[in-house]
Amino acid sequence: MLAFVLAHLLAAAAAPVLVRRVGRWTFAVLAVVPALTLVWALTATGTVLDGGAVTTVIDWVPAIGMEIALSMGLLQWVMVLVVAGIGALVLAYCSWYFHTGDDGLVAFSSAFMGFVGAMLGLVLADDLLLLYVFWELTTVFSYLLIGFDPLKRANRLAAMEALIVTTLGGLTMLVGMLLLGRESGTYRISDILANPPETSATVVVAVLLVLVGALSKSALFPFQFWLPGAMAAPTPVSAYLHAASMVKAGVYLVALLAPVFATVPGWHLVVLTLGTLTMLLGGWRALRQVDIKLLLAYGTVSQLGFLMVLFGIGTWTAALAGLAMLVAHALFKATLFLTVGIVDHQTGTRDLRELSGVGRAMPVVAVAATLAGASMAGVPPLLGFVGKETVWAAVLELTEGEVAGIPPYAGWLVVVGLMVGSAFTAGYTARFLWGAFWTKPGVEATPVAPVPPPFAAAPVLLAALSLVLGFAGYPLTDAFGLYAGTLPGPTEEYLALWHGLELPLLLSALTLAGGAALFVARSAVCRAGGLVSDHLSAEAAYRGAMRLLDRAAIETTGAFQRGSVSGYLAVILVVVLVLPGGATVLALSAGDGVDVVMWDRPAQVVLAVVMVVAAVVAARSRRRLRAVTLAGVTGYGVALLFLIHGGPDIAITQVLVETVSLVVFVLVLRRLPPFFSDRPLSRSRYWRMALGAGVGLAVAGFLLVAANARSSTPISEAFAEAAYDFGYGRNVVNITLVDIRAWDTLGEIAVLVAAATGVASLIFLDSRTSGIRRVRDIPYPSDVTKLPASGGRRVWLPGPRTLSPDRRSIIFEVVTRLVFHTIMVFSVYLLIAGHNLPGGGFAGGIVAGLALMVRYLAGGRYELDEAAPVDAGKLIGTGLFIGALASLLPLLLGGEVQRTYDTYLTLPGLGEIHLVSSVVFDIGVYLVVIGLVLDLLRTFGSRLDRHILREERGGDTGAERENRDRRAFR
């Protein structure tokens, strides 16, 4: 069973390929899938008619008890026949309706096929959640189908309307289903129907919420407006959507739940009232449409109200009538829409004021439409008439007051409502047939292209079924009785053409007479219809709500998204001030004794004074360089604080990072103006000061309170031993980084990679690679030839030759030459020793970076490329790769991710060496950090050097050139 649903979805995926190969014949090929489904359903006839059900259950998400449970009882079997049968016919019909090469055929065929599959899944689903999934899938596919031509506003609007209305209902329904599943203890529909939960307030709410979904899907008042809009879709879609799917989903759901929930308080009130109202409203509006397709669309609204009433009643007779009418409606509405498609296709218009004499030109189509129309109006001997006879019997039962929850006067209201509605139906049916096919006096005969016979096959077949089934009352009663049998009430009624001269026959005759009268007086009816103001419609309410939503979004965005970064920051900081700040004030005023010492070490006081002064002066500074230098002073101060606190690792790293930052700052600041742009002293400055002071105080308060609030022993008490036992190292901080919290570190180096890439792309703009240039690559001027030099006379550094002499410092070059290798060796030492002594990948990497930095500063960008003739991106990538590899390798050895191994290795001359696997991870970190520093040097150093050089030669500023480039690019 699941295979058939999946086959539809697979066919949907394959449809684009087919369209490219066979064009419009795609639809004929696709029609095979629902046709096979139909055949399968027919082979199951025996099982189903014996009262059995075909069931499949597959576990899906066991954690929430979600299963793919499919089940086909009688009701589902009828729906499958309708969905698959009409689906196959409509798809085949599409082959003649569309032309090879039509725009949007690919998306359309795919979405249509998906739609059929989703609908099939919906009716077969035996699990509330699964049903919901297919339910929303039909919504999505119908959105795509209605929005078939996204260039037309009508399509876009209608698609959006359908999507919003049905999704709103769908989500409401989901809440109801979750409640229902919770109350029942299961989401299996068959279980819920077999053991319904006790009627409690929750169940009532749940059922009513589910009803909202059903009503919105089936376009009942007040949701009815999306359906007429949805006829903006191509006619085959309308035929399928109105007759067999989507809107039938709501009816199906009500039919499914009625056997156990029809007696829930509120059910009858909602379903019967809204159903009757919708039937009247839809019929009334259909009576005055000029577009024959729109006329049918309003007719569908009316019929859906009718079907809802029938299934909502919840008695044996009503269920029997309901199923008969459901099948009848599927057959006649599909026929009528398909004939409208043919008329529209062959004449080019759907306006009944322009159509004339079409019936003569296409008699077969006209006969099929007339048969279907007669079924819709309830004329014997068609299926629609047979159904209506039983309908009257069912609603007359209501007037006797024997149906639980429906008082006799309400029953009479329903009878009158349905009668008037049926008269409307007969009226607009006549108007439709007259409008589409009649020869009208005073209107020129419409030119009609000949109809290819296969094009008319589907409507003719369906119309014939409407006729044949009209004579099949007894077998239908037997079959439908299986569903009706799940409902209470007298079981004497049966489906037949002739019940004798009884009240139902009289009612049928009365409605037909009423319909005839409405048709005769059609101009008066149209006038009366035009008097009703359109502005009071539900659609106006919908549009009002959408407008309100848009306005609210604008107002909210306008109020909160001020577009000023400092504004957002201020909001965040004020929240910090008010909430945590307020909490600290409360905690401090509670007087839980704050334990403060004047210092841990006297040096703290000295450092604090220096840092406070530096910070305040930095904040007041108007020179960029001064501000940056003073910020650096606070950084070094922090490093010293770390050191006296007992953190040599972080102290080293802080000093190194501070140095790198300072150099990088200076490299960039040489390009920026020395002073900050002059800004007039404004009042906002005092606000900023106040906010800064407030947040600072809040932080102080928070520190005092938080430090005194510690009540448990820190987790890190166990770190030291764990580091040695599992990480095989003595430097606890380093082992924490490469083993205990290695995920953290892996994430961190990933951030570094992102930052380095970001920096490079902001400066290089076009490409990530910087293009390494060695000194030997520099071409000699044309009038200079290089003579082979005798070996042995090497320069201290090769790069500085490229600099002009006034920028060189021989002492610096010599010192650089002498210390570079020493620093590099030291960095490797830090990397390896970091396991047991202060150091590690970070510190080692930055030291190596500093060595490169010294080379750059001494000899310029060529010297940097001589020192590191490798692309920074490759270095960073390799580092990240090694880090990830080191994390995953233990998996191969049978351990967990990032587990550390160790081994002892004896080397001649060096003695025994303790090898620890986490060093590999640290090497990754090391490479990433070197890459980062190298990247910073290449971008802020080499690249900016070249910018500056170019400007000195060209004379124009960087900004001007950028603008010129961008203009040229445009």
Binding site: R156, L691, Y724
Partner: protein, 152 residues
């Protein structure tokens, strides 16, 4: 747990001055503010780490006297991340200067446009384009029909 006052004061001043600078428009000042703020937060970690102790180098018996290693590991990560962030912001400041001739953070033009819409009690462009006209067409058809029928 006792708290050392100089640490608290330092952290508070660094955070306060950092916040003051971050609320500025000049990206370089924002950056300096960020550096000060990060330093302040790192000092907060020191407060959270408790009393000073020996360097966390385990020799088998000194677990009791060593400083808390966990905040140190966290701070180490934070220091390096700050370097990355600083570099990135610097690149942005440079780019802004390249394009605009200054490194000031500009207000968003789109947001200003939305604010004007809000002040004018207007709807969004997307809504205008999608929403208003089409249903009127359908109603016109209805009315057209009525007029047509009247004429007959």
């Amino acid at each position: 747990m006792t708290v050392s006052l100089p640490l608290v004061v330092t952290a508070a001043v660094l955070v306060g001055t950092g916040v003051y600078l971050m609320l500025e428009r000049s990206l370089t000042r924002v950056l300096v503010g960020l550096v000060l703020l990060s330093n302040g937060v790192n000092v907060c970690f020191l407060v959270a780490a408790g009393r000073p102790g020996d360097a966390p180098l385990y020799d088998g018996s000194n677990a009791e006297t060593m400083a808390d290693p966990l905040p140190q590991a966290l701070v180490l990560t934070a220091i390096v991340i700050t370097l990355g962030t600083t570099a990135f912001l610097l690149a942005m400041a440079h780019r802004s200067w390249q394009l605009n001739g200054n490194d000031d953070v500009q207000d968003d033009i789109e947001d200003a446009a939305i604010r004007r819409l809000a002040l004018a009690d207007d709807v969004s462009e997307g809504y205008e384009a999608e929403g208003e006209d089409q249903p009127a067409e359908r109603h016109d058809e209805d009315r057209g029909e009525t007029r047509e029928e009247e004429r007959r």
